[in-house]
Symmetry: C2
Subunit: 343 residues, 2 copies
DNA sequence: CCTCCTCGGTATATCGATTAACCAATCCGT
DNA sequence: ACGGATTGGTTAATCGATATACCGAGGAGG
């Protein structure tokens, strides 16, 4: 009951190619000095045998696993980061795959669990680096990761003197400026903002952009409400806003999921979107395109951010990863959930 | 510029505990025979030093990586599997984490890429097993994986004589029966089904359930349309159905994303949901709860399926993984997008 | 013609655990 | 009190690659 022949080792390849195992290793790692002819011969032999270097063996000897970690905090019942998730991974994987790197994914529920997880990953030498998501204010993770000697990048505003470089969201909230202009241009003056949890960094950034944008045009926010990204909070915030004596004509939400809740809530209370109230989201989830009305939102190009983060992290792991720069910035996607202000 | 002391090895722990390295290994793997006292002493020493066994070293020697692979096919621009994704991973991770297993995630675009990826993962010895998603008709992967000697489980109908056991969807489509009964009970008689791509296994299963359910009650499907899960196809199918001389009063979609498209399409053409046409989805995506109208759908409990798949795979990897049985079955979640048939 | 360098490789120690084989005490039944 | 288990460990080989040090053969330079 042999389940196929045992996997070939580097020795078999060396034998077939008529060289030493060291030569085989060098051929695969582009190190040492080999003539082009023998390099070819070795590669062909390996191909014939279907051999690839054993990842554990290589990792043990070279102390490099060619694996990166992505830890996602997934608090129960939250409308937040989840959908990014898939796009983010797409962006990251797009950079890892061609270089033969793997992505080790972990889910945790809170920040303590996340920390002990990093400690274990580092102690076990399972990964070469980590992508940190959801930058918080006073985030403990950069210090932890540097203590552990694990290269990392943070998805969030690059903080010049942070222990860990940030990626992509330096212009975070930039799209919110466009949103404000868009709404002002449509004649809206009473504009409310439904924000996320205060401890998330992007919450602060977007909120400030919102307030600054209005102020620059000589207006003031109708209101700014914080939520925990839960369905209930989104609905409650929307109801509170709409119940005001002189309710807002436009509501901007910190993400698309809450915006969808908001549209549903408005519609259920008999209002038309956008005739009575305009709604704007943030994230550009695919679903926004299929809704009625189609959701106006901000595309923050998570996929590119993920790719840039991966490139930066690879570079920090000593890989030659091209340009770590991020191309693209958040941009308004105007669709049907926004329209001229009533009256 | 020392970035902390080098990581401790098993030798250091052995020295501190005053035993041999073999004893340390045994203490961590619950093998061999050690007195409870020394076991404690070793564990304490390890804790003090912050030591965990090096994953690469352990993997090399024991030929077990304690890592499983999940490969997700992510065709561009598809409304399909994506959202499962996050829930599926949650379910899998919930079983892996407590056992110290990791999940290696890869994204591919087509089935060939997926195959060569498995070959590389096997050749490199990077994983102990794999979770296969999206069972297809005449799926080449079970044969491939067995040839590679890589344990695997398939998310899909358990096929008794398949090379790879299936998980969770033996009752796949079971929820569709409930859907049909629900709609019939509401007085609908002209019921259409918008299916997924024919090459996916669950498409066939659900379609059959749909047709059988109607037939059992003495009715016939209004129509069954196949799509490729794209937005365009979902919209086109919906428009075609609604343009019929005597259009259906209810449309059942193979997933929630298409159902949302369908609702949007119907609403844009001036129809009310559910007053003029009822809509049913499949998946129970969170978003369905926030929409207006709230989406009637089928909860197939992807998370439990993921967990069961993980348990089964762990068992096939020689782990003691408890019961691989799946608790829970797909169930109808009746909400507001379905209502009494018009007239 | 001798020396020195470069080219193209090879021999071997090593990464850090696991595991099979082995062994010294202690225990137990008769 | 003695032979055979049992307990509680140890010794040493090994997993499969990588990397450092080394080495022989030509070629160049003087």
């Amino acid at each position: 009951m042999e389940s196929g022949r045992a996997r070939p080792t580097i020795k078999a390849v060396a034998a077939v190619a008529g060289v030493s195992t060291a030569a085989v290793s060098q051929a695969f790692n582009n190190k040492g000095r080999l003539s082009e002819a023998t390099r070819r011969r070795i590669l062909d032999a390996a191909m014939d045998l279907g051999w690839s270097p054993s990842a554990p063996a290589a990792a043990l000897r070279s102390a490099r696993t060619r694996t990166l970690a992505l830890v996602v905090r997934r608090p129960t019942d939250v409308l937040g980061a989840d959908p990014h998730f898939s796009e983010l991974i797409t962006g990251i994987e797009g950079e890892l795959a061609p270089r033969g790197y793997g992505l080790l994914l972990h889910l945790v529920t809170d920040v303590d669990e996340e920390s002990t997880l990093y400690e274990r990953l580092a102690a076990e030498g399972r990964v070469d680096g980590a992508v940190l998501t959801d930058a918080r204010t006073d985030d403990p993770r950069p210090a932890l990761l540097t203590r552990l000697g694990l290269p990392a990048v943070m998805l969030g505003a690059p903080d010049p003197d942070a222990a860990v470089p940030g990626v992509g969201l330096g212009h975070q909230g930039a799209g919110v400026g466009e949103v404000v202009d868009h709404l002002l241009g449509l004649g809206h003056r009473r504009i409310a903002y439904v924000a996320g949890p205060a401890e998330l960094q992007h919450t602060r950034l977007r909120r400030r952009r919102f307030e600054d944008g209005l102020r620059a045009a000589g207006h003031r926010p109708f209101a700014v409400l914080h939520t925990d990204f839960s369905e209930g909070a989104a609905i409650a915030a929307t109801e509170a806003l709409l119940a005001a004596a002189d309710p807002p004509t436009a509501i901007v939400y910190a993400n698309d999921s809450m915006a969808v809740c908001g549209i549903g809530t408005a519609q259920r209370s008999g209002l038309r979107v956008p005739a009575d109230v305009s709604v704007v989201g943030y994230d550009n989830l695919p679903i926004g395109r299929w809704l009625h009305p189609r959701l106006t939102t901000v595309d923050q190009q998570v996929q590119q951010v993920g790719a840039a983060a991966a490139r930066l992290l690879l570079a920090r792991c000593g890989e030659d990863a091209g340009d770590a720069r991020l191309d693209g910035r958040p941009r308004l996607v105007a669709r049907d959930s926004t329209g001229p202000a009533p009256h």
